[in-house]
């Protein structure tokens, strides 16, 4: 097995939003995360924990009231945060691309599917060549990518408009759009949330298949632990703007360490255990405007100790490749 190498190395990333009321929303607040090359990296967390903001920070497409306050995002050794908008435009689509949740509104209704898929190819690979010369090559490339996604009759599909197709087909078109330039990193932001379950399984399988064939690194953002178990090699758990635990998928499911991960896992219904009652996590998601001091999870944590947990927890490597941000695994906890 090849040694694991991080394609993207995020350290100390802070992305804040300013609201109309003058508040600062600390959507991503000091995240360290490695996205391992050639793997499917999961990013899990409940709604509004900052996982989408994290992904938008990587491509630097934050809404106008958002800003990256601090940190570094090393992509193949280069800091994306310091890159200019022009440089970022070269990277987007060519090296990093993204799939969104909603395929219907992510496709432009006035363009044929083929021309939308081909756009990134035109913009990056053939940007200096006249369009007439490259038209045929682009069309062939589009057909190839659609065939890779097992779209029947790819050429005909490419010549149609998005509204003529179903959600599953549109999501395939979205994936084709994202993959058209064979990017190094694919960010999939809940790619199957809006599809029904059977189509979900199909689309997930297609993404897996395609990524394995092309060797793409994936950052898969989801709140569905089932999808994580099925697809991801590694997974990071996010809570209230911070990564609380990060490990291989099997490790997370077998030996999760962080109380939040534990609580999350015990809130999934399982067929092999007879539940009396499915456990939820008590309390509410903290406000990101005024987060609790120290460990973000301590107000809801069953192990929390008032004295220690109001300090920022250190990240502890409990075993190789398994990092937890929790005081319970430090010496301080034992000696207290």
């Amino acid at each position: 097995m090849r040694p694991e190498r991080a394609l993207v190395r995020i350290s100390g990333l802070k992305t804040f939003f300013s609201t109309d009321f003058g508040d600062t929303v600390r959507a991503v607040d000091g995240v360290d995360l490695d996205i391992i090359e050639g793997k499917i990296n999961g990013l899990v967390g409940e709604s509004a924990c900052g996982k989408s903001t994290l992904s938008l920070s990587i491509v630097k497409l934050l809404p106008s009231n958002g800003r990256i306050a601090d940190g570094r995002i090393l992509f193949s050794g280069e800091d994306l945060i310091r890159k200019s908008e022009d440089d970022m435009r070269e990277i987007r689509g060519a090296q990093i691309s993204m799939i969104f949740q909603d395929p219907t509104s992510s496709l432009n209704p006035v363009f044929r599917i083929g021309s939308q898929i081909g756009e990134a190819i035109e913009l990056h690979r053939f940007k200096d060549e006249p369009k007439e010369l490259t038209k045929k090559v682009v069309r062939e490339e589009v057909t190839t990518i659609l065939q890779l996604l097992r779209v029947p009759d790819a050429e005909r599909v490419a010549s149609h408009y998005p509204h003529e197709y179903s959600g599953g087909m549109r999501q395939r078109a979205m994936i084709a759009m994202a993959m058209s330039c064979r990017p190094k990193l694919l960010i999939a932001d809940e790619p199957t949330t809006n599809l029904d379950v059977t189509i979900q399984a199909q689309v997930n399988e297609l993404i897996l298949d395609m990524v394995k064939k092309l060797g793409t690194t994936v950052l898969l953002i989801t709140h569905d632990l089932g999808i994580v178990a099925e697809m991801c090699d590694r997974v990071a758990i996010m809570y209230a703007g911070k990564v609380v635990e990060c490990a291989d998928t099997s490790t997370i499911f077998k030996r999760s360490k962080h109380p939040y991960t534990e609580a999350l896992l015990s809130s999934i219904p399982r067929v092999d255990i007879k539940h009396k009652r499915l456990e939820g996590i008590p309390g509410r998601v903290p406000s990101l405007v005024d987060p609790p001091p120290g460990c973000r999870f301590h107000p809801r944590c069953r192990y929390a100790r008032a004295k220690i947990c109001t300090q920022d927890p250190p990240t502890v490597e409990v075993e190789e490749g398994h990092r937890v941000a929790c005081w319970r695994y430090t010496d301080v906890w034992e000696s207290d």
Binding site: R92, G93, F100, L123, H163
Partner: protein, 301 residues
Amino acid sequence: MGGGNLGTSGLGGSFVGRFKERRYSLTLRRFWKSKMGVLGLLSILSFAFLALLAPVIDSKPGLLRPGERLTPPLESASYLLGTDSLGRNLLGLICWGARSAFTVIISASAISTSIGVVLGLVAAYYGGAVDSVIIKIIDILLCIPEFFLILLAVSMFHQQTLTVVILTLAIFSWMDVSRVVRSAVLSIRELPYVKAARLSGASDARIMFLHILPNALSPIIVIMALRMGDFIMTETGLTFIGLGDPNVISWGKTVNEGFQTLRVAPWVGTFTGLAIFLLTLGFNLLGDGLRDALDVKQRLT
């Protein structure tokens, strides 16, 4: 009525058949169904036809024939609509007037739509300071009654050529287009496909003109059609009070002359006024018809 219905739908069917895209054919079918819109289009087309035929109908436009002054309509085969106080062929005047009217309408709306589209797009897309500056300019221009502004601007020129009239019309009438484009773009720019385009590495200009603009076309087309009706009114208004190119035959001038001989020769003013009325009405009906046909919300029902 039944025959008329068959006629229009038959025409619509064959016309539609040539368009492969269902999206457009649906819009067209809806347009053909709106009788008023089709009527407006017919009115415009017939005036366009007259304008094209002007040299055939009257090869010597504005030729004075002192012996044939104030010939009533239908009295002579060569002057179907009669002649005016200077013995000019009224039908010829109307045809040549239609020519200048169309010249003004088409060029002025092309220029004003371009200005409006670009400013509206830029304002909505970039937002912030750019947006507020453009909005302020629009607000200021809209405060002043348009006709007087144009009147003032045109009268400042020594030589009031057709170009001067066209440019002035265009410069003081892009605000509506801008506002319409701005509001459409404000909602479109937030859609995920715009983000997707940016993620493909598209530049701002490409996103604005290639991805956003085509999706905002419907309101632009509608406001353009309605604006054209306004242009006729303003242009004839200007020429009626003696501004505008003196070397060009225009409806406003003819109506003015007809106004002076209204007692002895009512046909001069009446027919020309009717022409102005019908063409303006045509553009307004066309605009309304297009609005109904392009309305996405209605299409769902």
